[in-house]
């Protein structure tokens, strides 16, 4: 029994419902809102500023480093996006990065485990710990702020205990392993071009397929010129990125990892039930429940994925530093939250995109990288991060208000 045959044909007044334009067109044209422009301008300003005061900022070597740093921030921010979209927050990921990076290092250096096994154990442990935190939040009704704040402290303590407050190197001498290669292995230069080409072809095909589908659905389409110029600019930037990286040692492996993560999270959010449910739970939890959504499972699922990405972030960050020390991962949760908010995710839940978060991460990573290059003192770095975080949330409030008016 389907409900459709029960219902009479549409009244004439509504027959052409798909043809409304051009007012909705402006709202639905994706990718070029005020927000994206402001992000782009912020990014150009930051790069321009650092390029002027610290000329090495734009060197191939530094941009390659920046790519690794971006990968770490962005992987964590993409996990945070899931948490924020379903209306929660996670303050513990910085400590988690330290803990699971440290655990892996100890297993390898002190207990002679092979890197893949050590990483697998850490990954599974992180997923379990985060799923448990999710369960605590949703089933015991303890606010995520509190649970993950407790997590921040506990994981930090565990991290220091695991590494005995020492510095645990990842490698003995110069022998590379699977973990250290995450940030020291670079894509062979010709392969990088081939891969970039494939990505460009893939993006173009996806964009065209999406457009064809919207056309079939009689949804408003963005002008063809805008679509193609956006694709063109993306392709140019991608090629430029490969060119710059190849001037140094090539495209870092961590960037591949970021690409894969972004693809998975993007598909998850856009094309799966789980993704829809995340937005619904964050947008209106009671309505989600009445709509038959298992809210607990959705939130625990989001935390489990966050756990996996925390482990990956831990591997990357520890590998990048070359060793696990007590300061690894410190305050990274705040960078991730800032990246999400800068990227347009709403802290009250229900809103946020992968593209936005990637942009937000790039801004945060550039800022940190530039400040380090300028050799500013740590205290000034703290202040700068704080100001950017406050600015980002202020912008979130302002733009939400404007959207509501």
């Amino acid at each position: 029994m389907t409900p459709t045959p029960l219902i009479n044909a549409a009244p004439a007044e509504n027959a052409g419902a798909g043809e409304y334009s051009p007012a909705p067109l402006a709202e639905t044209t994706r990718g070029i809102g005020l927000r994206d422009f402001s992000m782009l301008i912020a990014l150009l300003l930051i790069w321009g500023f650092f390029g002027t005061v610290a000329p090495t900022f734009l060197s191939a070597r530094n941009l390659s480093n920046l790519a690794v740093e971006l990968s770490i921030t962005a992987v964590l921010s993409l996990g945070m996006l899931l948490i924020i979209v379903c209306g929660q927050i996670d303050l513990s990921i910085g400590s988690g990065v330290g803990l699971f990076g440290g655990l892996t290092a100890v297993l390898m250096f002190r207990h002679d485990w092979p890197a893949p096994a050590a990483m697998a154990v850490s990954l599974v442990a992180a997923v379990l710990v985060w799923a448990a935190m999710g369960a605590l939040i949703i089933r015991q009704r303890i606010p995520s702020f509190i649970v993950t704040l407790a997590g921040l402290l506990v994981f930090k303590g565990l991290h220091w205990k695991v590494i005995s407050n020492a510095t645990i190197p990842l490698t003995v001498g110069s022998a590379q392993n699977a973990m250290s290669r995450l940030t020291t292995w670079f894509l062979p230069k010709p392969l990088a071009f081939v891969l970039a080409g494939l990505v460009i072809v893939g993006l173009t095909l996806a964009a065209l397929a999406g457009r064809r589908q919207r056309k079939a659905f009689q949804f408003p389409l963005e002008p063809r010129e805008i679509l193609f110029s956006r694709l063109f600019v993306t392709a140019q930037l991608l090629l430029l990125f490969v060119l710059v990286c190849n001037q140094y040692r090539g495209v870092p492996l961590s960037v591949m990892l970021l690409g894969a993560t972004a693809l998975i999270i993007g598909v998850l959010l856009k094309h799966t039930r789980f993704g829809r449910y995340l937005y619904a739970v964050g947008g209106n939890r009671e309505a989600a429940l009445i709509s038959g959504i298992d809210v607990s499972r959705v939130v625990i699922g989001a935390f489990a994925i966050m756990g996996a990405l925390v482990a990956v972030g831990g591997f990357l960050q520890t590998a990048y530093a070359g060793a696990s020390t007590t300061t690894i991962g410190q305050l990274m949760e705040l960078d991730a939250i800032a990246a999400c908010v800068i990227g347009g995710a709403s802290l009250s839940g229900g809103r946020g995109t992968v593209t936005g978060v990637l942009f937000g991460s790039l801004i945060m990573a550039s800022l940190l990288n530039g400040l380090t290059l300028m050799a500013v003192s740590p205290e000034v770095k703290f202040i700068a991060r704080g100001v950017v975080l406050a600015l980002a949330v202020w912008m979130d409030v302002r733009l939400n208000k404007r959207a509501a008016d």
Partner: protein, 519 residues
Amino acid sequence: MISPVLECRRIGKRFGGVAALCDVDFDLRPGEIHALCGENGAGKSTLIKILGGIHPHGTYDGEVIIDGKPAAIRSVADTKAAGIAVIYQELALVDEMTVAENLFLGKEPVRGGLIDWPAVFDGARRVLQQFAIDLDPRAPVRELGIGKRQLVEVAKALAANSRILILDEPTAALSEHEVRALLQILRNLRSRGVSCLYISHRLEEIFSIADRLTVLRDGRNVATFDAAEATVPMVIRHMVGREIGELFPRHTPKHGAPLLRVLDLEVAPPEDSHVRLADIQFDVHEGEVLGIGGLMGAGRTELLMHLFGAWGRRVRGTVSVAEQILDAKANPRQSLRAGLVLVSEDRKRFGLVTDKTVGFNLSLSSLRQLDSMGLIDSTREHRRNSEMFRSLAIKASGLEAKVGDLSGGNQQKVVLGKALLTQPRVILLDEPTRGIDIGAKVELYGLMNRLTAAGCGIVLVSSELEELMSMSDRILMLHNGRIGGTFARGEATQEQLLAAAMGRSTVTTGRASEHQETV
């Protein structure tokens, strides 16, 4: 003749093209309890809001006269200054403060720049003693039951030296014992010269306390009686007034097998042992519309929410859908799978993700049916959504319009569409026509006819008797969490239905017989 403390002369109030009040004359004498009666939508709340300063002077026609002088009430503060205290159904107390702190909230006695706490507590004790209100000034409001909180509101009004109390359905959520306590206090106040405008659906209460009563219907004052001269049937007749037009004809198909069976149901709130619903028993057959009526607080919404697995703790009883027993602890997801669906009365809270699009909301409950190797089949989703969009004639720019931007009637259609896309057997409709215009109502009635013709069963909860009587094949009236009467289509008059909702059988007048009709 004593001159009235409060007088309304030819009060009129329009909302857009709709007249909520029209030429209402009304007066309140010193030391009088005056009851205001009328069906939902008769204009009672509008009148209170005018007196309470929520609809300010200038937005309505006519005059409000206080102590013989025209009064221009422009704000809530003006109302207070005129010695009027309005106690709305949603109590305005700060839970985390004590009774005394609440009584003096915003007017705390001050000494040397600091709050004079002894004065606060002494003052509170004095007010409470003076009016024989049994409350501990030091008790935190958080720990008080709803009945006591109501008394705190009354005491707060008295502490502000109000001479006129306006109470909007003060007993809707109270137990019998609490009602008696409240009424006794109101009698005490009357003997001290305080006037009281008392709004209630419960006629027994009104007759036990009021000196006079005024009936509003469709925004007009249709009668003012001395309570001594009025009778219950007389008041009900004035409240209902008109015959029911066959505006929305119900086409009753042949009823099939029972789809939804509710047996001996008893339900308590989640964290409370006090039973909210008891002795509930009914069947809904294929093709049948079962109407459920009752006054506010009778437990209609709780019943639907419980059947759907979204509220309450089952003490006993069974619920089955199409011969399949639903677990007592079923959640909405399991109910949906069993073929049950709920369209909540509070669509903003329980129905929609208002920040998202029409399409997002339409398919939200039925994504499971769109699965294609773990991903959502967006082509099929779009096809089903747009069919539903068209067949419900949702007026929006398209599936990508934000639901929050739609009108109430169209938002309601989106919630309905979401429910129908789950391909339900039984549809629970809670006040589906509240706040939607007449055109959308007629469309909904047509849809209900088509759904039942196709074999669905519908449970329709409504506050509008007219709607219940014209759309239901059978009507069940709830009173205080129990069945107050069941009636076949065309069997009952509005008077009988109202009487059943108030816990009075029309056959015999005693309260003890209220269950007899259902047994």
